[in-house]
């Protein structure tokens, strides 16, 4: 347990998907290619009812778009959300 932990809330890039398989494709492909971000549970601010989303920094937006196009990964929407 890190007692000096400070958790900062700031705007993050959240990408959502229409299918359950698309975020997993991004998850697997990104690891191999060093793409920024990680898989998270779908924030309730976007939609209630569970699912997966991709979280990255706002500055990663263009590189992620290029990567997803290159890998034929279809995303549904991109959001900027205040998150820890």
């Amino acid at each position: 347990m890190d007692n000096n932990l400070v958790r900062e809330k700031k705007k993050r890039l959240i990408i959502t998907f229409e299918t359950t398989t698309a975020p997993l494709k991004l998850d697997i492909k990104s690891k191999a290619c060093g793409i920024p971000g990680r898989t998270i549970p779908l924030p309730s601010a976007i939609s209630a009812g569970c699912g997966l989303a991709w979280r990255a920094e706002l500055s990663d937006r263009e590189s992620l778009i290029a990567f997803m196009k290159e890998q034929d990964i279809r995303w549904e929407a991109m959001y900027e959300l205040e998150m820890y």
């Binding site: 347990m1 958790r7 990680r38 209630a48 820890y84």
Partner: protein
């Protein structure tokens, strides 16, 4: 990783389970398909599992123990194979989508589905009253479908009383034991259960892809799938004898071998000892987290001596924090696996008003430790403090 999502699936199993799966994969053929040693070995193993599970659940005839892939498949077989348009069925607000969605499908076919709400609207703990179930019975009622415990709160339903009501009114009683099989005693005879639906990969400590149903003599389930059975191959319809009647296609031999090993391990440890350990962990966790500022704990933890069971599940929220974010922080920063969101229990979230926020569910197993519980509680305290 500290794994506290055992209500979704248990990861830590007895070593005998892993060994049994591997051994069956290496040596067992296709059960009921031919007479080779390999095929017979598979058949013997699966029949042993039928006998073992039948005895475990207080059944009398191993032929009535049917294997499936999970509780969802078992519940679909029971619900779609028993109900007809024009009939009435009673279920509860506690149910998982594995009960609700098949029932909604039946509603489309003309079955009248009555969902009994929780009886404690004022105190909001999520309790189902057997009296409310009895009050919902009408002349067209065919069956009561009910979970043994909520997968969201861990609240245990008094299925013995509901079973008595079902029998008194000559109704079929279908029980979803997903959260309780292997943790709480279940006896289909004493509890008047006509169809017991269970999964193998949670409390029974078997592999994913295993489950089943015990079909009592009063339940005449029509097959919802048909196909290869290894017997009566010139018959154009599915054979009517159990268990073949409800088992089309190759069974999950290695999985069932693992499930058998899981049941044997449970019998060795003792269901009561498993429950006592999980209960102790849950109580220790509760004691630590209930003082966290802003925490909300869902469920009924006032366990009465005569109805004193509660599955080892504690679902919480911290103030207005998104459950998905809390769960993500727990995993990403503390290495603690929990489950956020709706848990496939939409009606319970409506009851608690958490459709949007969801909940963070902690669920414990026999193999969790006090140290893990302490770490999880401290992590939750820190998340609450740093918000």
């Amino acid at each position: 990783m500290i794994y506290l999502d055992n209500a979704a699936t248990t990861i830590k199993k007895p070593d005998a389970v892993y060994d049994a799966v591997l051994d069956a994969m290496k040596h067992c053929g296709n059960s009921g398909r031919g007479m080779s040693d390999a095929s017979l070995d598979a058949s013997r193993k699966i029949y042993e599992a039928r006998m073992c599970l039948t005895e475990f659940f207080g059944g009398e005839d191993a032929d009535r123990l049917v294997f499936t892939a999970n509780s969802t498949e078992s519940l679909n077989i029971a619900i779609h194979g028993l109900l007809e348009p024009g009939e009435h069925v009673i279920t509860t607000q506690l149910e998982h989508n594995s009960v609700l969605r098949p029932l909604y499908m039946q509603r489309e076919r003309g079955v009248c589905v009555d969902i009994v709400p929780c009886s404690d609207e004022e105190i909001k703990r999520g309790i189902i009253s057997p009296r409310d179930i009895e009050a919902a019975i009408c002349p067209e009622t065919k069956a009561i479908v009910c979970t043994h415990a909520s997968n969201l709160t861990g609240n245990v339903v008094d299925i013995k009383s509901i079973g008595q009501i079902a029998r008194k009114h000559d109704l079929l009683f279908i029980v979803d034991a997903s959260q309780t099989a292997g943790v709480l005693p279940i006896n289909v005879k004493d509890m008047n259960i006509d169809v017991l639906c269970f999964t193998g990969h949670k409390g029974l400590m078997g592999p994913q892809g295993t489950g089943g149903l015990y079909v009592g003599e009063r339940a005449d389930i029509k097959p919802v799938k048909s196909g290869g059975t290894g017997v009566l191959s010139f018959l154009e319809s599915q054979p009517m004898e159990l268990p073949t009647r409800l088992e089309a296609g190759t069974l999950n031999g290695p999985g069932i071998a693992g499930l058998l090993a899981g049941i044997k391990a449970i019998e060795e440890i003792g269901v009561d000892n498993i429950y006592a350990k999980e209960y102790m962990l849950m109580k220790a966790f509760l004691k630590k987290i209930k003082i966290i500022p802003g925490i909300r704990i869902y469920g009924d933890f006032d366990m009465l001596p005569d109805n004193g069971a509660h599955c080892a599940i504690v679902s919480v929220n911290i103030a207005d924090m998104d459950s998905a974010e809390v769960s993500d922080i727990l995993m990403n920063e503390y290495g603690i696996a929990t489950r956020s969101g709706i848990h496939c229990a939409p009606l319970m979230h409506k009851f608690f008003g958490t459709q949007k926020q969801g909940m963070v569910r902690f669920s414990f197993s026999y193999y969790n430790t006090n140290d893990e519980i302490n770490e999880a509680a401290e992590a939750l305290m820190q998340i609450a403090a740093l918000r």
